[in-house]
Amino acid sequence: GHFGPYGGAFVPEILVPVLEELREAYAEAQADPAFDAEYRTLLREYVGRPTPLSFCDRLTDYYGGAKIYAKREDLCHTGAHKINNTIGQILLARRMGKTRIIAETGAGQHGVATATVCAKFGMDCIVFMGEEDMERQRLNVERMELMGAEVRPALSGSRTLKDATNEAIRDWVSNPDDTFYIIGSVVGPHPYPMMVRNFHRVIGDETRAQLREHEGRETPDAVVACVGGGSNAMGIFYPYIEDEAVRLIGVEAAGEGLNGRHAATLSKGTPGVLHGAMSYLLQDTGGQVEIAHSISAGLDYPGIGPEHSHLKDTGRVEYVSATDTEAMDGVRVLSEQEGIIPALETAHAMAPMQRLAREIGPDGIIVFNCSGRGDKDMQTIAKHR
């Protein structure tokens, strides 16, 4: 349950047996070919996998260096990679005989992905969402409710994702028997960070196969992904971890700048415990958790997955950051050059692209994870354009 010094399961005693049950059930599921088969069938026939690896010819010309490919998670059902994980977890929930699903959500993407699989599997669904986020992301609330989910406002603290997560954990503590908590990123207590990563590694696995088809080689020179909690990044990085020659670059949200309000947990945080795991954390000197800021509600989280903390410390992954302005530039460039309007989260991955493309040069290859589409962000984008 640890990645170097990070991870673990810092949870109330009530959840200890619940997590133990989950670990065992997940281990059994992993060993059961029928589980994997059903998971992969759903990914193929419901989610729309494999998602394409799109060669970005115009973006390549625009940056004038390495060939750039986009792994098109924006084409997944519900519009982002999130559903790879909710499909996996709901299969596990059903296997464990759970009938009631809870989830936390910030921008609403994981909430929508959870409400979606709950509708598809006929399960009760309660999504916790910060009251402020519910107002900012009204349409995602409507989407969840339309699919039969109940969206419960988190009224405490900053009334955003962090607090929605607290509320989800409180609900879980109160309903440990019938309830399965579908966590939306590679965060939370063990086994979640490992499990969520494993449900997303299909992104990287497909990328390898597709890149071989396109280029005759499975490994690009660099893989770039945005990092909030870090699930899309872990999904595409993980199958490349052992390939030391592949540069892995994670892009955090620098918000208004690293000296202002931001969400750059790895760049500016320090290790600590939040939501059940030890990891880097934005906190004050007294250990109180700080409120993160990003133009992208999906990166607006003061924590990060523990495996990322380990990958930072070991240096295997380079973590950089992109400001709100750089993210908006990324939206514009990808929209204008490739006709792909990315999610604001995804757009952060564009920030280091010019530098990388030139460093690597025209003989090299960069893959970036186009983790979600921008429809949900059009109001924000329109306001800042």
Binding site: F10, S174, G272, V273, G287
Partner: protein
């Protein structure tokens, strides 16, 4: 034997359930915490849990969440908890445990934290988001500083786990009464009793105390049948909140009411010290 163990042993010897009372440091106001502690001490608390406020108290119900947020809004820091404990200690020998989440402790530095706590007269620690599996980073330092380390069990803890917790815990084993948050309603009393009875049989090396959801003397009596005592938090917090939100009360009235509340919890009467607030 620690001061906490001595106290609990004494209660046991007297045949009365020990009463632990929880309040949050800096709540309702930093200046009020020490007098509140003395009031509940006077009211009959056998030991005190002093909460260290945290921004994200994920095992707490609304009253303790609110108390934590209120304390933080006053700028309360970790050192203030040591000051509160030390100040209280000057006027009382009642054991004090610090209760809180691991992150502020980590940031303070565990060794430094344990030393400071012990120097301030603190007797033990309760960290609800640190189950035994994650406690290795603490145990050595706590032991070195002479601090008891209380662990929790819950209704869904297996027999084996309860025994294991009993082996690791010092001071006492904290039996969470319900699968829920602090301040949850106690329902299904039969199930609670049978769980406490089961725990009673398994916890052999430590006193067993029950907490969560106990709001009245009757609750306390009922749940203490199979335990060595009980702990009340949310109900006290709500009482403090009510007193301080009532502008018609003088501070003296407030402390008196808190003392009376503690007394009533323990003894079931509403008279005692409370009848003579000027005492």
């Amino acid at each position: 034997m620690s001061r906490l163990s001595d106290t609990l042993a004494a209660c046991r010897a007297q045949g009365t359930p020990a009463m632990g009372l929880f309040t949050t440091n800096g709540f309702p106001h930093p200046d009020a915490t020490v007098p509140v502690l003395h009031a509940i001490d006077d009211g009959g608390a056998d030991f005190i849990e002093l909460g260290m406020p945290f921004s994200d108290p994920l095992a707490e119900g609304l009253p303790i969440q609110r108390s934590s947020a209120r304390a933080l809004s006053h700028g309360v820091k970790m050192d203030d908890a040591f000051d509160t404990a030390a100040s209280f200690r000057k006027g009382s020998d009642t054991p004090v445990l610090l209760m809180g989440y691991i992150n502020p402790v980590l940031q303070y530095g565990i060794e430094r934290f344990c030393t400071k706590a012990a120097n301030a007269g603190v007797d033990g620690l309760i960290l609800p988001d640190v189950p035994p599996e994650e406690a290795t980073l603490l145990t050595e330092h706590a032991q070195a500083a002479g601090l008891d380390l209380v662990f929790l069990i819950a209704p869904n803890s297996s027999d084996a786990r309860i025994q294991r917790v009993d082996e690791l815990a010092t001071g006492f084993v904290y039996a969470v009464s319900v699968t829920g948050l602090t301040g949850s309603r106690l329902d299904g009393r039969g199930a609670v009793q049978s769980y406490l009875k089961r725990a009673r049989g398994l916890v052999t090396q430590n006193p067993l105390l029950v907490g969560f959801g106990i709001a009245t003397h009757e609750d306390a009596q009922e749940l203490s049948q199979h335990t060595d005592g009980f702990i009340v938090g949310s109900a006290l917090i709500k009482e403090i909140e009510a007193c301080w939100d009532d502008d018609t009360l003088s501070d003296a009235d407030r402390y008196a009411r808190i003392r009376q509340f503690a007394h009533a919890l323990k003894h079931g009467d509403a008279v005692a010290a409370g009848s003579n607030p000027a005492e």
